[in-house]
């Protein structure tokens, strides 16, 4: 099959998935609610304590903590959005229409590619929405150049791609939507135990490795560096490496599961 037909079929599948998302927005909106609620909770309810704890010293000044927490919340938004991807992939695989696709002369990978591209686009839309809320409550980037903004967006898209492929794999092996949502839970929990809300150094010693050696922490630190000018160090390369490794893993996993004979 020629590459142009692969693109055409994937595009058709993408439009199908976006149509689903548009027709049934409740799943996407529900998943958006979590990061927004957490953002408001951490800023307005815990914000003073958090700022004080971080040595901001301002007490009533929450802006320091808003700046700290927003990059983590944005990454968490991606984690939450791809839970929806796992659920919709799982739903899709239990539908008879997938069997129909498998017996048609179409590009075989287009079903998965449609899901992946659709999910990345949804992640970006969600990040923009949550980002808008963050700006509305006072988040400001301190010294990011246009290039750094672009890099930040690129990083978010790369994280979205990596987590999407993992979520697709999770959706493929889940027998139903509930199982898919449970299987994808780590993608929501991992940011909670990363440097999203408090710095790793502020955590108990035994816990620090867990927070440090996981994909969200380097990604969040890199985003922080890009938007707020903090030290990035080797976190940038680490984040990219994590994303590429997770993408490759999720891709291989999903593809081999999809190519297996259906029951």
């Amino acid at each position: 099959m020629s590459p142009s037909l692969a693109v055409r079929d994937s595009n058709t599948m993408l439009r199908r998935n976006l149509l689903h998302a548009r027709r049934y927005p409740s799943l996407t909106l529900n998943l958006l609610l979590t990061p927004i609620v957490l953002l408001l909770l951490f800023v307005y309810v815990f914000g003073d304590v958090m700022s004080a704890g971080m040595g901001g010293g301002g007490g009533a000044d929450r802006s320091a903590y808003i700046a700290y927490v927003v990059p983590g919340i944005l990454m968490m938004t991606i984690g939450g959005t791809v839970v929806g991807t796992a659920v919709s992939v799982s739903n899709d695989m239990t539908e008879g229409i997938i069997a129909r696709f498998r017996t048609m002369a179409i590009h075989r990978g287009s079903v998965l590619i449609g899901h992946v591209v659709g999910s990345v686009l949804q992640c970006i839309a969600s990040v923009v929405l949550v980002g808008a809320v963050a700006v509305a409550i006072g988040f400001r980037s301190t010294d990011a150049t246009a290039l750094e903004w672009l890099a930040a967006l690129g990083l978010l898209a790369l994280v979205a791609l990596a987590l999407t492929w993992i979520a697709v794999g999770m959706g493929m092996i889940s027998p139903n939507a509930e199982a898919a949502s449970n299987n994808a839970l780590p993608l929501v929990v991992l940011p909670l135990i990363s440097s999203a809300f408090v710095p790793v150094e502020a955590m108990p010693g035994w816990f620090q490795p867990i927070a440090e050696y996981q994909p969200f922490t380097p990604a969040i630190e890199t985003l922080r560096g890009l938007l707020l000018g903090t030290e990035i160090g080797y976190n940038g390369w680490l984040a990219v490496a994590w994303c590429l490794a997770l993408s490759a893993l999720g891709y291989t996993w999903s593809k081999s599961t999809f190519n297996r004979d259906p029951k």
Binding site: R15, R16, I97, A99, T103, M104, D261
Partner: protein
């Protein structure tokens, strides 16, 4: 599509030799041979769990065969599945429509996946929706459709690519009698367009109504194959069945009519008979003169049911099944 069919095999739409499939250590198909001429309706008949769906799944490239060979539209299913896919249309046992989008969107999705130009896709979708009486519901989500409507949409979607060979896995299972007759009509129309139809069914009546050739699948093997007429000829002819309530009358009749097959439990006798008026009259005359009165008299002519039960071993409780028919 049809242009790529090899000339040598163009009369045969589907052929298979020694198809096998097992799941774990359970053998589902144990060597299936098929030869289906192009433009005919072939029915694969069998009880639940006989392996009908597995045959369809293998021939439609959904699952791989565990052994054996098959050609569909002249293409080897294992070596060139993509060529097979471009020649076939499949309507599985379970609805293969996208419930989240409308009937029309389902049709346009198929048109896009068949790479039809937009206007042509739209025209074909509208025509098929009209033909299958779905125009009114076209803008509603497919999940709101009734069973019969879903099945019609399913077949309409299968037809978008103008397939030369259509697989229908139990197309009428779960449909009410009216939808079932509509479906039969649809299948007959397909054949007049020159399409080859491969259908599976557990209804003998359906195979009898629609199929040019029938194969009876039982326990993963083809138990018999032929036209419905040929198959009916393979089982012994009809009979008259006499049922009694009075055991004494039953025994008297049974000793006198020694050609009859006895069913002592049901107090019933089966007398071989073609069911002609003359034969019936002589039987009735004999009963009168012997002073025996049967409580019920039924005339039974052989149908596919007999073939089916004879070949598949049948349910043990089938009352009118003469023992000698069971292999």
């Amino acid at each position: 599509m049809p242009s790529s069919v090899m000339p040598t095999s163009h009369q045969i739409a589907v052929s298979a030799t020694g198809l096998r499939k097992s799941y774990g250590d359970k053998t589902v198909l144990d060597g299936i041979d098929l030869r289906i001429p192009a433009g005919s309706v072939f029915a694969l008949l069998g009880p639940n769990g006989a392996g009908k769906t597995t045959v369809v799944k293998i021939l439609s490239t959904l699952v791989s065969a565990g052994g054996g060979q098959a050609h569909v539209a002249g293409h080897d299913i294992a070596a060139d599945p993509q060529a097979v896919r471009s020649a076939i249309g499949v309507t599985g046992q379970f609805s293969a429509v996208d419930g989240l989008i409308t009937g029309e969107e389902n049709m346009l999705l198929m048109a896009d996946l068949h790479h039809l130009p937009k206007p042509e896709g739209r025209r074909i979708a509208a025509d098929l929706l009209e033909r299958f009486d779905l125009s009114e519901a076209a803008k509603k989500p497919a999940s709101t459709y009734s069973g019969g409507m879903k099945r019609r949409l399913d077949i309409a979607m299968t037809l978008v690519g103008n397939p030369r060979i259509i697989f229908l896995d139990e197309p009428t299972t779960g449909l009410d009698p009216r939808s079932r007759h509509t479906m039969w009509q649809i299948i007959r129309e397909l054949v007049t367009d020159g399409v080859t139809v491969f259908l599976t069914t557990q209804y003998l009546e359906e195979a009898d109504e629609l199929a040019d050739r029938v194969a009876v699948l039982n326990d993963g093997k083809i138990a018999a194959e032929g036209t419905p007429e040929e198959l009916k000829r393979r089982v012994p002819g009809g009979h008259v069945r006499l049922r009694f309530t009075d055991p004494a009358a039953y025994h008297r009749a049974a000793t006198a009519l020694n050609e009859a097959t006895r069913d002592d439990e049901a107090l019933a006798l089966q007398i071989p008979s073609a069911g002609s008026q003359r034969e019936l009259r002589s039987l009735l005359d004999w009963l009168d003169s012997a002073g025996v009165e049967a409580d019920e008299l039924t005339v039974h002519t052989p149908d596919l049911d007999d073939v089916f039960f004879a070949l598949t071993g049948g349910p043990a409780t089938v009352p009118h099944q003469p023992k000698e028919n069971v292999r």
